[in-house]
């Protein structure tokens, strides 16, 4: 759901809605092979809305660079064997071919 061009009334409505809504369990990544692997790898350090927010404009090389940065710079303990599966999932569901 998106809420844009907010009016004062919409803000008031959102205040009551927000009382129950501050929760990343509302995020649902697209179903697909390896979505569980992606969530296990990424959600240790950040909510998966980072993935949705950065879509759809990265090509495969872009997602490879992001996953590589998470491993090499941020120290994410992602097994080598999982990397191509994660990049495949992100490219297919949140990238441009």
């Amino acid at each position: 759901m998106k809420i844009l061009a907010i009016t004062a009334a919409a803000v008031l409505l959102a205040i009551s809605a927000a009382a129950v809504a501050t929760d990343e369990s509302r995020i649902h990544l697209k179903d697909g092979a390896d979505v569980a692997t992606v969530l296990a790898a990424c959600s240790v350090c950040h909510s998966p809305d980072y993935i949705e927010m950065n879509s759809r404009f990265l090509k495969r090389a872009g997602w490879e660079a992001e996953v590589g940065k998470m491993i090499k710079v941020m120290g994410a303990p992602i097994p080598d064997a999982d990397v191509p599966r994660i990049v495949d999932y992100l490219t297919r569901n949140y990238g441009v071919e």
Binding site: T22, D23, E24, D49, Y50, M53, S55, L58
Partner: protein
């Protein structure tokens, strides 16, 4: 003013589709609903409508964190450590000492994330896809960093001063967020360790109990939940200085230099950019022929002062000056307004642009750089006259 419902701001329509689909209004504890980009770490921007006031209230001020371990700080137990190899006399401060033992200074200053408007960059670049609201303007009260460093006895060979906050990474292997300033900027009279924001304690999400205030420079230097200040004889190394928050050399020659952090190919982001934001117009808003349209906005720059804000309603062929509102100081948002009476029906694009006292004007197109910084492209909003 019209323009709710199906209309979006023109700018937001050009954001990544996934950003538009996933952003929601959500309220962090103690905050009004803001536009959520990520829950963990929390990254929330201020909706543009809230900028109709020149001061951004604490419960509407944007929230930006890099790392997800953000402790609740107990004010009584909090200590600020001042030291480093370029400090003669290291010491600790309690919050009471910070407030009582140094002359308090108040100033109004804009805090803007270096990546503000990244989501509007074409082509898109990865990162937090901010719209126009990763910025806010508050009255800060605190101690001069210069006075704190003087008590510590700054050695003549101090090149930088480094700052660490209580926040930390989830994994030990992730680089902690530590930043530095060149000594000349650290001892600037306007660089503060602030413990009040708009007359109240800092909100947790904005750095309680104390944060660095670096007027004119990007938010990346405004370290929150400050716990240590280290005067250094060598430049600070680490991911957040050596790799992040940098732009290619030569692309932005007009900003303050941070020479000890420059490399052969890149320089650190320092000053924020001159900008003007229309705050009361929605894309697609409808107005009546012959009835004045009143546009409100704010403009800011790194602290040289806004010389002029200009409006065009004819695709940039001609420009007219807006009238200024109250001057809250050179580091503050400067409110402005402009009125015109439409004489023909149809669609109009309203463009605003600011020019600062150095004669620097906003750009017509984004100067591309890999991480999406320095986007100060003029804002355009389409309205309809019926």
């Amino acid at each position: 003013m019209a323009g709710s419902g199906g209309f979006m701001r023109l700018a937001r329509a050009s954001m990544p589709t996934g950003t538009i689909d996933s952003e929601v209004l959500d309220a962090l504890p103690g905050k009004l609903p803001l536009l959520k980009h990520s829950f963990r770490p929390p990254n929330y921007e201020t909706p543009v409508e809230y900028f109709n006031d020149a001061i951004t209230p604490n419960d509407r001020f944007f929230v930006r964190w890099h790392l997800a371990n953000i402790p609740e700080i107990d004010a009584a137990g909090w200590r600020l450590k001042i030291g480093g190899d370029a400090a003669e006399r290291p010491f600790d401060l309690t919050l009471e000492q910070l407030k009582q033992e140094f002359d308090p200074v108040e100033l109004v200053a804009v805090c803007q994330c270096a990546g503000n408007r990244r989501g509007l960059c074409e082509p898109h670049v990865a990162g937090v896809e901010w719209g126009e609201g990763a910025v806010g303007n508050a009255r800060w009260k605190g101690a001069r960093l210069k006075d704190i460093l003087t008590r510590a006895g700054l050695k003549p060979d101090a090149v930088e001063v480094a700052f660490n906050g209580a926040d930390g990474p989830v994994l030990e292997a992730t680089p902690d967020f530590v930043k530095s300033l060149p000594t000349w900027k650290a001892v600037d009279d306007n660089t503060l360790v602030a413990y009040e924001m708009n007359g109240a304690s800092l909100p947790h999400w904005n750095g309680f109990p104390a944060r660095l205030i670096v007027p004119g420079w990007a938010g990346t230097y405004w370290v929150k939940q400050l716990i240590s200040i280290s005067a250094l004889t060598q430049p600070l190394k680490g991911f957040w200085m050596s790799t992040a928050y940098r732009v290619p050399k030569g692309k932005f020659p007009s900003v303050d230099r941070f020479i000890s952090q420059e490399s052969e190919t890149t320089i650190p982001v320092t000053e924020i950019d001159v900008f003007s934001l229309m705050t009361n117009l929605s894309e697609g808003a409808r107005f009546k022929l012959g009835v004045p349209v009143v546009i409100q906005g704010i403009a800011w720059d790194p602290g040289y002062g806004i010389r002029r804000v200009e409006i065009s309603i004819d695709e940039g062929r001609t420009w007219q000056s807006a009238a200024f509102g109250t001057d809250l100081g050179r580091f503050s948002f400067r409110p402005w307004h402009f009125a015109f009476t439409p004489r023909s029906r149809g669609d109009i694009t309203v463009i605003s642009r600011a020019i600062n006292a150095q004669g620097i004007v906003q750009t017509d197109g984004w100067i591309a750089n890999p991480a999406g910084y320095h986007n100060n492209v003029v804002q355009k909003i389409g309205i309809h006259i019926a």
